[in-house]
Each structure stands twice: as structure tokens, then as C-alpha cells.
């Protein structure tokens, strides 16, 4: 597979422009990172509907809440750490408790942020957002899916969190592919084991499945773009039919996609599981490739995890 690469935040930029054209109530707010998050694309098209709140994330979330209470559909944008972390209480109590219709975009998820280092690599945002009652959490796998996700969250009446990455990553889904929030996509069918992944690491999971295929291991790959509400049906079906699960995400192994899948399985059908993710540590500076290798986030690591889980599989 050789595919073109784009940062999936580009999809956010394109999605915002489309929304801007179709819905005059859509507004975009940023906190001094407009270029980097791609919200400046919307700013250029719709300067009167773009607001820079300065380096003041907490204030930005509160302002968005007020705008939404008055009927607007604000998209607030900054890096994942500075929104999910810095403004968590504003998101929890002002926005989610009241069920206010604010769309939150967190860019720069994962260690692949690279040389900026640990402070800028969001590794806890999925966990922080998914524990909030009423929050929808979407982690698109590429730029095309990111655009669809951006457009789709505008149709939900309630708080939503979208997570993007910094690096250019393979664009491997197609415009015509089905996308619905809360409904996972099975990208590769298989019967021995299932990889459930979210974000750009879905592509690594497909590479792993290809590798495993050569070794005679039939691997199902599920793109779990929506972490909340979670598609439990597809998880339970995979557990039943393949009997072994590996989750993969560029996030702490605790509390994110892996945790969410484990909750479903523990309650309904305990199934051997392995989790690919950052193992309870902070990131650091380096190239995305160096960091993916060190933190064991490559397709080779997924292959290893599959073999581990297969050795634990019940007959």
C-alpha cells in the first residue's frame, strides 16, 4: 500500500468551511493556534464568524457555552492538552452538565506531535472526555474521515469532542465510505483475532493485518472512530466470532479506547485482550518515527500483541 499523506486536522479545516457555507449559525473560536489547528481556513472564508479568544482556553469554553445558549453552534479549537486538560472543569460543569451544544476540537493528539515534547502531546484527552456524561467523542483515522466527523458532529445537539493529530498520515478511507457517528467500520474481515483501533494508528493496524495474513492469521480490523457512544454490538460480535481482541490507540493505555472496550467485554463476555498505547508514562521530544518505535506503536508492535493475545485465547 502506498498512499498519500495529509495531517487529519486538514479534514477539520475543510469540514469547517463546508459547515460555514451550509449553516450560518456555525462559528469558530480559537486560542492563538489558528494556523496550526486549521481553523484559520474558516477564518479566511468567514472572518465575521471567527473569534480568537487569545491564550485563554477556559474563557474560550465559557464564551462558547454562552454563544451556544443563544442558538449558535460554536466549534472551539486548540491543542488537545490545552482544551481537554486546561478547560476540563468548564467542559464538565458549564457545558456537559447543562448539555450545551459546543463542539470541541483537540489537535495534536499523541506522541507523534514529535519535537515539542511531552507538554504538547495529548495522551489523556480521550479518557478525560469520555468520562463526561453526555459527551460524544470522535477520533478520525485520516483527513477524509476527519472532514466527515466535523460535519457530522454539527448535526448532534450536545457537546462533542473531536481529536486530531499533527503529523501527515496516510489517507486511506474514501469519500464514498459510509460514516456514521457511533457506528464502527469493519475495514478487514477476519476470524482469528480482532484489532480495534482509532485515529491514524488504524492504518498501522491494517499493515499489521496484512503481515499477519502472510503468516496465516486471519485478522479483523475495526475502525472505532467513535469512542462514545461506543459501538458495543460490533465489539461483542468480534469477541464472539474471533475470541481475541487487540486495541490500538495513540493515547495512554488506561482510560481510552482500550479501557472502553475492556469495560464492555468484562461486563458481557470476558475475552483475552492486549492493548497498544502509551504505557502509563509521558512522551518526550523526538521524531514521530523514533517515538512510535520507543513507545511501541508501530505495526510490528501490533503484530506482537496479536501473537500474545492468540497465545492466551481460550479454545
Amino acid at each position: 500500500m502506498s498512499v498519500k499523506k495529509l495531517p487529519n486536522r486538514d479534514g477539520y479545516g475543510h469540514g469547517l468551511i463546508e459547515l460555514g457555507k451550509s449553516n450560518p449559525d456555525v462559528l469558530v473560536l480559537d486560542a492563538d493556534l489558528a494556523k496550526s489547528t486549521r481553523s484559520d481556513w474558516f477564518q479566511k472564508e468567514f472572518p465575521d464568524r471567527f473569534f480568537d479568544l487569545g491564550i485563554a482556553e477556559q474563557d474560550m469554553l465559557g464564551t462558547a457555552a454562552g454563544l451556544a445558549l443563544a442558538g449558535k453552534i460554536p466549534f472551539v479549537t486548540t491543542y488537545g492538552v490545552f482544551v481537554a486538560g486546561r478547560a476540563w472543569d468548564q467542559i464538565r460543569t458549564t457545558i456537559c452538565y447543562a448539555g450545551i451544544n459546543v463542539k470541541i476540537a483537540g489537535a495534536h493528539g499523541g506522541v507523534s506531535v514529535g519535537p515539542d515534547g511531552a507538554t504538547h502531546q495529548a495522551l489523556e484527552d480521550i479518557a478525560l472526555m469520555r468520562v463526561l456524561p453526555g459527551m460524544t467523542v470522535v477520533v478520525p483515522c485520516d483527513a477524509i474521515e476527519a472532514k466527515k466527523a466535523t460535519i457530522s458532529v454539527a448535526e448532534i445537539n450536545g457537546p462533542c469532542y473531536l481529536r486530531f493529530a499533527r503529523e501527515a498520515t496516510p489517507v486511506f478511507t474514501k469519500e464514498e465510505d459510509f460514516f456514521q457517528i457511533g457506528k464502527a467500520n469493519v475495514l478487514n474481515d477476519g476470524s482469528d483475532v480482532t484489532i480495534i483501533a482509532c485515529g491514524p494508528i488504524v492504518y498501522e493496524s491494517l499493515l499489521a493485518a496484512e503481515q499477519l495474513q502472510k503468516e496465516g492469521i486471519s485478522t479483523r480490523v475495526i475502525n472505532m472512530h467513535t469512542i462514545k457512544p461506543l459501538d458495543e454490538e460490533v465489539i461483542l460480535k468480534a469477541a464472539l466470532e474471533t475470541g481475541a481482541i487487540v486495541t490500538a490507540e495513540e493515547h495512554q493505555i488506561f482510560g481510552g479506547l482500550g479501557g472502553a472496550v475492556a469495560e464492555v467485554l468484562a461486563k458481557n463476555n470476558p475475552t483475552p485482550m492486549e492493548m497498544i498505547g502509551v504505557k502509563d508514562t509521558f512522551g518526550e521530544s523526538g521524531t514521530p518515527e523514533e517515538l512510535a518505535e520507543k513507545y511501541e506503536l508501530t505495526s510490528n508492535d501490533i503484530v506482537k500483541a496479536v501473537k500474545n493475545v492468540l497465545s492466551r485465547k481460550k479454545d
Binding site: D32, L33, G54, A56, P115, G117, A118, T119, H120
Partner: protein, 276 residues
């Protein structure tokens, strides 16, 4: 440490500027703009003001420096190396895999740092805590904290701005690098922070306004702050983002971008060629 003459400091500032452009060029990323605007502020502080012992980084009586705007760590790493905290050659490992010089300061990686930073707006609170502890422990060390002007938009800064005078923390010296640029453009246009001196005054701080590139004014400001009792002091330093490299000066785009090879050469010529 023996205080340096104004002339020596000026020469050191050139080396620090050169370090900044070389380090970011070698890294291929990083933040030259806001590093260059803080050169005189930090060179004067580290060489002539800050009471610290490179050979004993945890000396309990040392003055503390908190880099609240963590992205400008190139300038901090440079003055740390040049006052003896670690070898100057190590500067070129900035942002590289395995380096102690992380893209934003990591206190666990590098001795001599007082705090990790990179999420803006948090440093002044830490400085207040250190200063309050000094009062409680009858220590005479002072605490310095460098902030960006864009960074002042963070609410936590103004929470901390209330705390310091409330507890009479005259051992706190805040420094604002007032270069009037942040990432999205001019602070005035993104989110106005003026009238700045009046804001700090009304929060009950002793305000000292200076040209942040004039070493004599910078040194005098630190002295005035140290002698001012019962109130914390804030030095509002008017600066130029990218100072010393003509094509970087006052250009928002050089906030977080590394020079390429030709740009590096041009920058070094300007830094060492004509006097700044």
C-alpha cells in the same frame, strides 16, 4: 559568580543569540522569536543577578528562576550552559530524541531547571509558592518569573497576580517580555492586554517599565525590584520579537519556525557583524 561588565554582557548576548538560531536550525523546529526577545533579560539575570551555583544545582539558598513561557527554552538553555550548568556543546541536541534539552523544559531531565513548563500561564503561581516558602522558612532567596505578553491572556496569571501582593511577596520579581506578538499576530489584535502597567498597578504591584534590550536598564530594573519592599515587582520589558536578526524582527511567522541553512548563515552574520 563574578558580575560581568556591561561590555562583556553585550558580547555574551551575541553568543546567546547565535546559540538560539544555531540550536533551532539544528533541531529543525523550535521557537527563535520569543527567545531572541528575552536575550538581554535572561543574560543579565543569569550572569549578574541570579544567586546560583552550577556545581550545586539544589543549593537550598539559591535564587529561583521560573520560565513560565516554556517555549523559549532555547534562550534559557543557552544562558544555563554559558553560566556552567552543562556543556555548551550539548545545546545542539535541542529537541532531539534522548536529549536532556526537551522541546519544552523538563525538570526531571535537566538539573538546574526549577520547573517543567510549556503549558502557558502557570509559572507565576509556582513562583509565588516558592516565594511564600522562603518567607515561611526565613530564607532570603528571590524568585524570578519570565512570562510572555500573549501569555498574560491566561486567567491564572491574574489569579497569581492577586496572590503575590496579598501575601506581601516582595521576593517575587515577575518579568513580562512585552514584544507585542503572539502566534496569531499582534497581541493588540488577537486579544488586547493594555493598559498593561495600569493593570499590574491596580493589582498592587510595583511596576518598572524598561527597554528590554538595554542592558543598563535591565540591570537597574532588577536592582530596583530587589530593593522594593512589601510589594512584588513586575518588570515590563518592551522588546522586539526576533531581536537581532532583521528578517525575524517583528514577524509573527518566526514564533515557532527554525531557520534553514541560508537563513542561519545570514542570521549569524547579522548577530556578529554589526553591533546590535
Amino acid at each position: 559568580m563574578v558580575p560581568q561588565s556591561n561590555e562583556n554582557l553585550q558580547a555574551i548576548c551575541k553568543d546567546v543569540r547565535a546559540d538560539i538560531v544555531k540550536m533551532t536550525a539544528a533541531a529543525g523546529s523550535g521557537h527563535p522569536g520569543g527567545s531572541l526577545s528575552s536575550v538581554e533579560l535572561l543574560t543579565a539575570l543569569y550572569f549578574n543577578v541570579l544567586n546560583h551555583r552550577p556545581e550545586e544545582p539544589n543549593w537550598p539558598d539559591r535564587d529561583r528562576f521560573i520560565l513560565s513561557k516554556g517555549h523559549v527554552c532555547p534562550v534559557l538553555y543557552s544562558v544555563m550552559a554559558r553560566t556552567g550548568d552543562f556543556p555548551v556543546e550539548e545545546l545542539m541536541t535541542l529537541r532531539k530524541f534522548g536529549s536532556r534539552l526537551q522541546g519544552h523544559p523538563n525538570v526531571k531531565a535537566l538539573p538546574g531547571l526549577e520547573s517543567s513548563s510549556g503549558s502557558l500561564g502557570q509559572g507565576l503561581s509556582i513562583a509565588n509558592g516558592l516565594a511564600l516558602a522562603a518567607k515561611l522558612n526565613n530564607k532570603s532567596y528571590r524568585v524570578y518569573c519570565l512570562m510572555g505578553d500573549g501569555e498574560l491572556q491566561e486567567g491564572q496569571i491574574w489569579e497569581a497576580a492577586m496572590t503575590a501582593p496579598h501575601y506581601g511577596l516582595d521576593n517575587v520579581c515577575a518579568i513580562v517580555d512585552y514584544n507585542n506578538l503572539q502566534i496569531d499576530g499582534k497581541c493588540d489584535e488577537v486579544m488586547g492586554i493594555n493598559p498593561l502597567a495600569k493593570k499590574w498597578e491596580s493589582f498592587n504591584w510595583h511596576v518598572i517599565e524598561i527597554d528590554g534590550h538595554d542592558l543598563a536598564q535591565v540591570l537597574k530594573a532588577y536592582e530596583e525590584a530587589a530593593n522594593h519592599k512589601e510589594q512584588p515587582s513586575v518588570i515590563i520589558a518592551h522588546t522586539t520579537k526576533g531581536k537581532g536578526v532583521s528578517f525575524m524582527e517583528n514577524v509573527a511567522g518566526w514564533h515557532g519556525k527554525a531557520p534553514n541553512k541560508e537563513e542561519l548563515e545570514k542570521a549569524l552574520q547579522e548577530i556578529y557583524g554589526g553591533g546590535i
